[in-house]
Amino acid sequence: MESDNRSTKLLIGLAVVLLVLFGRLFYVQILNQSYKTDADNNSMTREMIYPPRGVIYDRNGKLLVGNKICYDILVTPREVAEFDTLSLASVLDTTADFIRERMAYYHKYRTKIGWRTQTFLKMVSADTYMRFAEEQFLYPGFKAQVRSLREYPFNAGGNLLGYISEVSPEFLEDHPDYRAGDYYGRTGLEAARETDLRGSKGWHIYQRDSRGRQKAPYHDGDFDVEAVPGKDITTTIDAWLQQYGQRLMAGKKGSLVAIEPSTGEILTMVSSPGIDVDVLADFGRHYSKLSQNKHKPLYNRAVSASYPPGSVFKLVNGLVGLEDGVLKPWMQYPCYNGYVYTSSGRKLGCHTHRSPLNLEDAVMMSCNGYFCYVFKNILENPEYESTEEAFTHWREMVMSFGFGRKLGSDFPSELSGNVPSAAFYNRYYRKGHWRFQTVVSLSIGQGEILTTPLQIANLAAIMANRGYYYIPHVVKSSGDVEIDPKYSEKQYTMVDTTYFPVVVKGMWKAVNALGEGGTANVAYVPGLNICGKTGTAQNPHGKDNSVFICFAPMDNPKIAVAAYIENAGFGASWACPIASLLVEKYLRGEISEGRKDLERRVISTKLIR
């Protein structure tokens, strides 16, 4: 009968499938040896070999993060014979109680531990190890294993470099390829380049003889795996400049970021107050103190803090106005201590300066009134049907400068900042119930707009390049470390490059046109042709924030800098000197005689305590 036949066929199929499973089991469990080389088989022991972690260099090959050797003391409880607890304690610089406690623990869990080796004491110094090695024969069952610890030969980069720490149980749950006792990068570059720096562990497998003592390589070492050292990383940081930046920023709260405009490479990234490298080396001990500090030194302000950009944002509004055709460089607007924007006479204030001004001079003198007119023209552009539509267009243009979104740098914990959307104002004021006057503060970079210091530095780079940037990054390609090709692609803004020179001219005059009312004269260094823009951003939590962006020299710029100092008053008072000193140091190698006093004043002043 046909159906019987089919049932039989199905049963034959079942038998075949089961035989395949049996065959595979036979292969895995009996024929194949490689699945038996697990560490916990009590006839074998696996000795881990930890690879040295990759080291980190600065852009000129100077070592920023190196390794120093230290040792873990291991013990195989079953091999331990009687020993003198007190003398071992003194050799290892620990207490007898600690040793007794550990041994009691091993005894309690002896069935679970079996022949496996346990970590007895972590990270002992090379000196301690030497003493131990001399007397090792007195303590059977104990041995040492090489580990490496981080070492920082040069004090530069604290927060930027980040620290490593031992894996936590929670981390292990998500990362099955780590084992308890491994180290991994927690923050900064150590975290961002973990996969490169880490390398991979190796092991040697030994077999015990019947007495459980002597060991021979298992299978002649066929299953041994050699450790692969971590890859070395070259950063784009200039170690000397970074160190100088940290000196300038000491005692101030804020960020200082310098970018090489022609590559997008970050030369310096200071977040202050930060952490010194000697703290990194022994992070565990300092952690609780640091995490309770009210100035949050662990927090990398340069990428993770967002502030209103203040007047430096006028550059963007001016450029958007030019691109839209609603602003011409020759247009003049009046300003008598501010811009009156409601019929009842509400006024957005400005400082006293001559009036009216054209675009170049408005940039030079940072005139609030002028840029209110500019922003009004942008939002009330007759080409669009409503303020909302014009605003949405403006937002798109602004975002093309890297604001309101993550730049995509290779640095972890980068924030996106915020450029408010029309939808936001529709929610807040109801659709159709807001217009230029409602959002007037955006004209001068105040209000709902928030940016990170890195984004502001990127704006400086855009100005330096006259209209494009490279995504800022801190790691360079070197050896077998490759970086994403996106870092070598020009990112153009939506503003045509032909509109940039006039605004740049204004930035040049702000610094170099002495006696004409420029806001950044303090940054003037003869011959350097620094172009800059100050900003004084209102801070609801206290004194205004002091902001300055600049680049130099005017032609073929080598460096673009942003300084953002919290609660430090006018842009010209702190941000401007700090940024200009950094530029001078980078381009000249030293500070000119005339500016030594300025340098001393900056370095010695403490704005926070």
Partner: protein
């Protein structure tokens, strides 16, 4: 139900072999769950704070359910409610997509306070019931394309919804119903087509699409040459040519579907698992880690295993999901080749006897339902054990009656005992 009938018939009518196998698998599973979750501190197997204790409660519940199904409920009741039950479960399957919390990327669990359950478990039962009910109706013939379509829809609807729940693995079980259709007269060509689909999928993913195309062309050409020689009449020749063209088109469609399925339907992690299985990816730390650890655990068991509770790989947390999806590792490590073969043989015997009983049934409903049950057990067994042995991609489905988990245990209990009860009715009124 009369007392006398029950007393007289119990020994002869109930297939005790199945019940013994059921209990053996379940108890063996339980002690292995204990082995898998036990940590250094000794605790009782009944300790309610760990999985083995909870499983004891689930097992007690399962036995009560089994007794109810066997002695209290009339099994033909199930046939009568097969339609509404199927409809309700299908609705639950859809609802759960919108109402459930996201558990590891899938939306398939209902949470009612402390109780969690997966409607997908119940859907195997209702699909089997409806399929059996529809196909056992008089004049139902798979050769009629309308009937064929109905049968296919019954299987495909829950399957597609489960795929929408991101439980592609659980949906794979439904492929097993093709064996039921084959038993009931589906052309063997469909099985061949399924095999070809798997082959083309592997080839398309692993190599290039044009290699798959060559395979299709060769198959079609071989078919043409073989049959054209044997069929002298023009009419048959035409039909052969038509089949060849259809086959070629189907092949092309399969290649395209494989590509789309692999690159667009599968989630990233699923794609990685498939790539790993096909050897396109060496990744012993990431995706491959589970499989690698699973193989080490099983491999280290050797011929006789390390002995009960002596395993180190499974108890020290090297293997993930030790008491649920990867429970077979514990068997492999602690009971060795002998124990593993024994367990698989238990399943083999269970499936074998279900098929034997089903074949003997006079009622079409019982027969078809029996084959559905056998197919479900078979698919779960092969996928789960195949996964731990690195023969299948990592698909999180339980080993029936063995893995930890109440909803799965109860679902398989119901699935099996409806059949045992149906089978008993067969013999009772002989």
């Amino acid at each position: 139900m009369k007392e006398g009938a029950l007393d007289r018939g119990l020994k002869k009518t109930v297939d005790w072999k199945l019940i013994v196998l059921y209990l053996m698998i379940m108890l063996f599973g339980w002690i292995n769950i204990y082995a898998a979750v036990r940590s250094g501190e000794p605790s009782s197997i009944f300790d309610l704070s760990c999985n083995s204790g909870k499983q004891a409660l689930w097992m007690a519940g399962a036995v009560v359910i089994a007794a109810l199904l066997l002695f209290v409920l009339n099994p033909y009741f199930w046939e009568s409610i097969s339609r509404p039950a199927y409809g309700v479960v299908l609705m639950l399957l859809v609802l759960v997509i919108f109402m459930s919390n996201n558990v590891k990327g899938s939306h398939s669990w209902f949470e009612l306070g402390p109780v969690k359950f997966q409607p997908a478990e119940m859907s195997k039962i209702t699909t089997s019931l409806l399929l059996a009910s529809v196909m056992s109706r008089p004049y139902f013939k798979l050769s009629n394309w309308k009937h064929m379509l109905v049968a296919a829809l019954i299987v495909l609807m829950p399957m597609l919804v489960i795929i929408a729940e991101s439980e592609t693995g659980s949906a794979l079980v439904y492929v097993g119903f093709i064996f039921v259709l084959y038993r009931e007269g589906l052309s063997g060509w469909w099985l061949a087509l399924l095999g070809l689909a798997v082959l083309l999928f592997v080839l398309t993913v692993r190599t290039q699409w044009w290699i798959s195309l060559i395979v299709v062309v060769v198959c079609v050409a071989a078919y043409l040459v073989y049959y054209l020689r044997r069929t002298p009449t023009l009419r048959y020749r035409r039909r052969v040519v038509r089949n060849a063209v259809l086959g070629f088109v189907a092949g092309l469609a399969l290649i395209l579907a494989s590509d789309v399925f692999f690159n667009n339907v599968l989630k990233d992690y699923q794609r990685e698992r498939v790539e790993l299985l096909l050897g396109m990816r060496e990744d012993p730390k990431g995706v491959g880690y589970n499989v690698r650890q699973s193989l080490i655990a099983i491999g280290s068991g050797g011929l006789f295993g390390k002995g009960y509770l002596q395993g180190t790989q499974t108890t020290f947390g090297f293997v993930p999901e030790q008491s649920t999806d990867f429970i077979f590792c514990t068997v492999g490590e602690e009971w060795g080749f002998v124990g593993s073969v024994f367990l698989i043989a238990l399943y083999g015997l269970l499936i074998f006897w279900i098929i034997r009983d089903a074949e003997k049934a006079r009622s079409g409903f019982t027969r078809i339902y029996g084959f559905c049950v056998a197919a479900c057990f078979f698919m779960h067994l092969v996928i789960n054990v195949g996964m731990t042995l690195g023969l299948m991609p990592v698909i999180g489905i339980p080993l029936p009656l063995f893995s930890y988990g109440g909803s799965s245990l109860w679902a398989f209990t119901v699935l099996l005992f409806i059949f045992i009860a149906l089978d008993r009715q067969e013999k009772k009124y002989f």
